[in-house]
Amino acid sequence: MSGIVTQEGVAAWLRAFAEAVAKNREYLTELDAAIGDADHGSNMDRGMQAVVGRIDGPSAGTAGGGVGALLKLVGMTLVSTVGGAAGPLYGTFFLQVGKAAGEATELTLAQWAAALEAGVKGVQMRGKAVLEDKTMVDTLMPAAQALSAAAASGAGLAEALRQAAAAAEQGMKATIPLIARKGRASYLGERSAGHQDPGATSSWLLLQTAAETLAAGAPAEVPGA
C-alpha cells in the first residue's frame, strides 16, 4: 500500500487550507471585486476560521465518528458561517465527501478519490454549473478526475495528489478567458472574460494544500513504485 488518508491528515489539510485562505484573503477578494462583489476572500476566511475553531476547539475530538463525521462538521460549519454562493457550495462539497468517506478513520486512495468525486457531484447538484461555466467546478472536476485516474493507474497517494493539484491549477487558469454563465459574474456577460474566477482560485488552494498535507502521515514513497 502506497499511502492512506488518515483523520489526522485530513485535519492537517483543513488547517493548511484555512491558513492559505487567510494568506490569500485579499487576493481572493480582489478577484471577486473584478467580476463579483468583493467578498469571496472574507467569506471563505470567516468560514475556515470557524472550521479551525471547531476542529481544534475544546469540544473537538470528543465527537468521534471518523473522517466522515469530521468532514460533515466542516460542511455544516461552512454552511452556517459563509453565506453567499460559496457557503452552500463548499458546505455541500464537504458534506458529500464526508458522507462518502463514512465512519472509517483511514481511507485508501481509491476510497478518497471516490469521496472527492461525490463532493464534486454535490457541488454540481447544488449549483447546477457544468464545466466552462467559469466556477469552482472548473477546478474541482478535473482535479477529482485526475485523482481517480491516478488511483486507477496505481499511483501512490502523494503522486496522485500532486496530479490532482496540477489538474486543479490548469482548470483554474482555464477560467480566465471564459464568459461566466453562473453566479454573480454572469451579470457581466462578455465583460467577465479575461478574469480568473475567485471560487476556482480558492478551490485550487484546497487541492494544493491537499497535496502538501494529506500524504504527510503516509510512508515515504519510492518514486516510480
Binding site: 462583489d37 468583493a38 467578498d39 454552511v79 452556517s80 457557503g87 452552500p88 449549483g127 451579470y187
Partner: protein
C-alpha cells in the same frame, strides 16, 4: 468612507440590536443565528412567510416583519446571503402549522442557501414552499445564466402574500399568489453614485461626475449601460420604457407604480420621478391605480432609484389594500 457605524464588521449586528431596542413591542430579534420574527409568532393556523437576504437593503426585509406582511426576516452580512441555519431557525420559530413560504430573491447565493434551508426544514417535517423573485429587466433572462435578479417586486410580493396569509389562505394559494406577483411585475434601476460596503471601505464601482449606471443592481452590480447624466425626464423614459416593453404592459392595464429610492436619494427627487412616470404611463394608456413612493429596497447609501410596475387585478388590489402593520409599511391599523 463616512458612515454612522462603529467597526464595519459589527454594523449589521449593532443595527439589529438597535431594532431590538426600538421595536420590542412588534418584533423579537434573535442573535446567533440572526433573525427577526413578529412578536406574536407563531400565529396558529396561518401560513408563515419568511424572507431574507443580505443586509444593506433596509427597510427590506426586517422592516417588513409584522401583521399583514412577513412573519420572519433573515438578515445576512451586508450584501451576503444569510445561511440555511438562520432560515431554518426562523421558519421553526414562526411555523403556525399551516406551512411556511420562503420568498427568495434570485441571486445564486440566496437561492442555494434557501434551498438548503428548505431541505433541512422538510427533513424535520415542516411544509415549505419557495418562490423565487426575478423582476429586474436590466439582466437578460436565460436558462443558461443566473437569470434575472430579484428587486422591487419582492416588496410587493411580501405585502400581498402577507395579506393573503392573514386571510388564512392555504400555502399553495399563497405561493401561487407570489408567483403571480412575480409574473406580473418588472423593474429597473439607475445609480447616480455607487454604494460603499462598510467592510470594503470604498465605493463598489467608479462612476464619473457626469455618469450614471442604467440598470444597476441593488448590490451595485453593473447594469445595461453607462450613460451621461441626464434629466429626470430622460432617465424615467429609459427605465420605464424598458420595464413596460418587457412584460409588456399595454393600454388599459391598471398598475401599481413603485418608485423606490436607493438609499441616498431624497424624497423630493422621487416625487419628480413619479411625476414623470405618471405622465409617461398616461401617454401609453396605462393607468396607475396604486402607488408606493419611498426608499424601501435600498442599496446602502447609493443615490438613484428604481421603478417597479405590477399589473393589478381586483384580487391583487384588494390584497395590497389590506391592513399591514410593520415599521416599514403600515396602513389600515
Amino acid at each position: 468612507m463616512k458612515k454612522l457605524i462603529n467597526r464595519p464588521e459589527d454594523a449589521v449586528a449593532e443595527a439589529l440590536m438597535g431594532v431590538a431596542a426600538a421595536h420590542a413591542d412588534r418584533v423579537r430579534v434573535h442573535i446567533g443565528p440572526n433573525y427577526i420574527v413578529r412578536a406574536d409568532a407563531p400565529v396558529r393556523g396561518k401560513v408563515a412567510i419568511v424572507s431574507g437576504g443580505g443586509s444593506g437593503h433596509e427597510p427590506m426585509h426586517g422592516g417588513f416583519v409584522g401583521m399583514g406582511m412577513l412573519d420572519a426576516a433573515c438578515p445576512g452580512e451586508v450584501f451576503t446571503s444569510p445561511t440555511p441555519d438562520q432560515m431554518l431557525a426562523a421558519s421553526q420559530a414562526v411555523d403556525g402549522g399551516a406551512g411556511v413560504l420562503h420568498i427568495v430573491k434570485n441571486y445564486t447565493g440566496d437561492v442555494m442557501n434557501f434551498e438548503m434551508a428548505a431541505e433541512l426544514a422538510q427533513d424535520e417535517g415542516m411544509e415549505v414552499e419557495q418562490v423565487v423573485i426575478d423582476d429586474d429587466v436590466a439582466v437578460k433572462d436565460s436558462l443558461y445564466t443566473a437569470g434575472r435578479r430579484g428587486v422591487g417586486a419582492t416588496v410587493l410580493a411580501e405585502k400581498i402574500c402577507g395579506a393573503a396569509a392573514e386571510l388564512r389562505r392555504p400555502l399553495a394559494e399563497v405561493a401561487g399568489l407570489c408567483r403571480k406577483v412575480n409574473a406580473n411585475a418588472r423593474s429597473m434601476g439607475v445609480a447616480l453614485t455607487s454604494c460603499t460596503v462598510p467592510m470594503a471601505g470604498r465605493p463598489t464601482f467608479a462612476l464619473g461626475d457626469d455618469e450614471i449606471e442604467l440598470g444597476v443592481g441593488i448590490h451595485g452590480e453593473p447594469g445595461r449601460e453607462r450613460r451621461k447624466l441626464a434629466s429626470a425626464h430622460d432617465i424615467v423614459e429609459a427605465l420605464a420604457t424598458a420595464v413596460v416593453d418587457d412584460l409588456p404592459f399595454g393600454p388599459g392595464d391598471k398598475v401599481l407604480a413603485f418608485v423606490n429610492g436607493m438609499g441616498g436619494t431624497p424624497l423630493l427627487e422621487l416625487y419628480v420621478v413619479y411625476g414623470e412616470l405618471h405622465e409617461l404611463l398616461e401617454g401609453r394608456g396605462i393607468s396607475i391605480t396604486r402607488n408606493l413612493i419611498g426608499s424601501y429596497i435600498t442599496s446602502l447609501d447609493m443615490a438613484g432609484c428604481s421603478i417597479t410596475l405590477l399589473r393589478l387585478d381586483d384580487e391583487l388590489t384588494a390584497l395590497w389594500d389590506a391592513p399591514v402593520s410593520t415599521t416599514g409599511l403600515r396602513w389600515g391599523v
